[in-house]
Symmetry: C2
Subunit: 377 residues, 2 copies
């Protein structure tokens, strides 16, 4: 077998969620603080299958009117300009978009800089395209980041806002990274999947920094912002040359994103935003409540203001994060994700997602987490 | 940019179909004989979005009850045994399944044997995973195939029934290939996307030859057999080790196939087969009518009894296949796909698909093809 593929680790968040599906099918009551999604109430807008078009292939760049809506949204919300005809590619989820971006840019032996803690699939995808991942912590100063750049550096991946901490990068931080990219001739891949999860705070897209997308690819998704993670629809924004290369990858690997889902999202784009926007705001208010609860319990976590995640410090337990999560799930029936999946330096953390359970159940889960932190081996 | 990605050719069939979408949006009446799909009448079974589950991630192997239906279908229809728990992976289309199979097995510099004419994405995908594609024509004798095997041969790809000729491989042919694979220690990737398109003839799955899937991966799709090409749902069958490696690829590249589409297909699996089965039979009857018409017009084509394709010989035109198809589309408003996309030896052919237009329009299209063949430069 291919060595890289065979040695891949399972996506650690998905691995735990698969265990949860199995425990639940056995009738176990699991408090699920592991899912990478927030549950929204979305009214049934109706999904008619009466048009034959819904069954057939569609344009491999994505339905044009959906691309136009995406371009309009980025322009009106984040002051980013893209041409829907040539600078937008609709993909079957943003994950495959990240893969296309890497495949389009990274040659074997190229290095890819990843900001730690990082979303679990970045490093595995870099290995899959033959590159070498290099990591640095997100609190590093600009001068320190420079030490990680080599002649082989081809790409830097930033997840903004950041999963699993909730950090929202400032415009100054992004501009500094862009200057580094220009000075050292590398590209930026900005994964903006949680761009809407802010309250009384501004989100800065990398497309508002590198306005002509000279060395930037933005990836985003309807998974998080629209509460439709299971639909696997995302999109990429970049200059037309990079998008064209990604289009060819899409043609040979996917053909097109699923037609009926694109038609539905195209038809209800504004309706869905109208429904989900206030619910996103509620999630950020909920974030503050959960934060207060952790402060009272004396649970420590990394700083952040966005997303529905907290990256919780479990170092007092003196356990590795996998052992901690395994015990937490099998004995306390609380599912979280081990920090080790987010970088080797993150083994004294676990990721908690508060997007899918009630306050009451989350607080009960936090109490059990606190108990396990204090229950030393 | 990555050299392989940048030098990728556009999937030639998709490229022409994108031109068709654009011509149609300008109001042009194009006779579309280029699409890789057959249109079926499928009643509106109803697609309710009232369950919140429809919005969320699902098991990254695919919903279990759908995997069970797929396993049952392969057992009852093709006498193939697989365990739905560990030997079936549901994918977002069979195309990405073919990619996973290659990524799982092929190391850089490995060689992959492809039977010519071949489906356009095989060779590009081999290049994307760092392998070297090697081609041989499908009418080759066993002794001649042996000449193409080297120590680096890792995988052989067979498309059965074959797009674009419609060839249905016999059990003896498959057994011979399997013997070669065992003797020379390579794997078989059997793409069976058109497995149902047969009338009064038996389809032999490679899983009925290599019964334990020791060195075989079967890929199939609901695109063709269910008439739902735009849904991008497919599946892979193999031994549990290979499926586990592909599962990890799926977790890092896709998470899962789209939940709402899997739930719909799971719910209506038997209903859809009941509706599409007689329509597939009609397509094979239509194949005979189109064949008669070509015989009368004196149009030559390669032998085959399955699928909704013909591979038409245009050598008398003295044009290359791209030039032929470009003129045919721009001056005669008939869309077909240039043979060159199916192998370098196929430049004197074009692929015709009769799955989406009426007999009348196809016959008129054939008359125009005949005219262009005879209209020498």
């Amino acid at each position: 077998m291919n060595k890289v593929a065979q040695n891949l680790s399972e996506a650690i968040s998905i691995k735990y969620n698969n265990i949860v599906y199995e425990l639940k099918s056995q009738g176990k009551d699991v408090t699920v603080l592991s899912l990478g999604e927030a549950y929204f109430d979305i009214p049934d807008f109706g999904f008619s299958l009466s048009s034959p078009d819904l069954y057939h292939y569609s344009h491999s760049r994505g339905i044009l009117s959906l691309r136009e809506k995406i371009a309009k949204y980025y322009k009106e919300t984040y002051e980013v300009n893209v041409d829907p005809v040539s600078e937008v590619l609709v993909t079957a989820g943003s994950k495959i978009g990240v893969y296309y971006a890497m495949k389009a840019l990274v040659n074997p032996e190229d290095e890819v800089l990843i900001i730690e803690p990082f979303w679990v699939s970045y490093s595995e995808q870099v290995k899959l395209v033959g590159g070498t991942p290099r990591f640095f912590p997100s609190n590093l100063k600009l001068d320190e980041i420079k030490n990680h750049i080599t002649k082989k550096t081809k790409l830097l991946i930033i997840n903004n806002p950041q999963n699993p901490t909730g950090k929202n990068f400032s415009k100054a931080e992004l501009e500094n990274l862009y200057t580094l990219a220009k000075d050292n001739n590398f590209y930026i891949l900005s994964d903006e999947a949680y761009s809407d999860f802010l309250l009384n705070e501004k989100f800065v897209s990398f497309g508002a920094v590198d306005k002509k997308f000279e060395r930037t690819i933005v990836v985003n998704s309807i998974s998080k912002n629209f509460g439709m993670s299971g639909w696997r629809v995302g999109y990429m924004l970049s200059n037309k040359e990079i998008i064209y290369t990604c289009l060819k990858l899409n043609q040979h690997m996917m053909t097109c994103a699923p037609t009926p889902l694109l038609m539905f999202i195209d038809k209800h784009f504004e309706d869905i935003i109208k429904v989900t926007r206030p619910q996103i705001e509620e999630i950020i208010v909920k974030r503050h409540r959960i934060q207060d609860c952790m402060d009272k319990l004396g649970i420590r976590y990394l700083e952040g203001s966005s997303t529905f995640y907290f990256f919780i410090d479990i170092s007092d337990s003196e356990m590795g994060s996998v052992e901690f999560c395994d015990i937490l799930l099998s004995e306390y029936f609380v599912a979280t994700v081990p920090g080790i999946g987010y970088g080797e330096s993150c083994d004294s953390y676990i990721r908690l997602s508060f997007g899918t359970e009630s306050d009451e159940r989350i607080i009960s889960g936090l109490e059990r987490i606190k108990k396990l932190i204090e229950h030393k081996k």
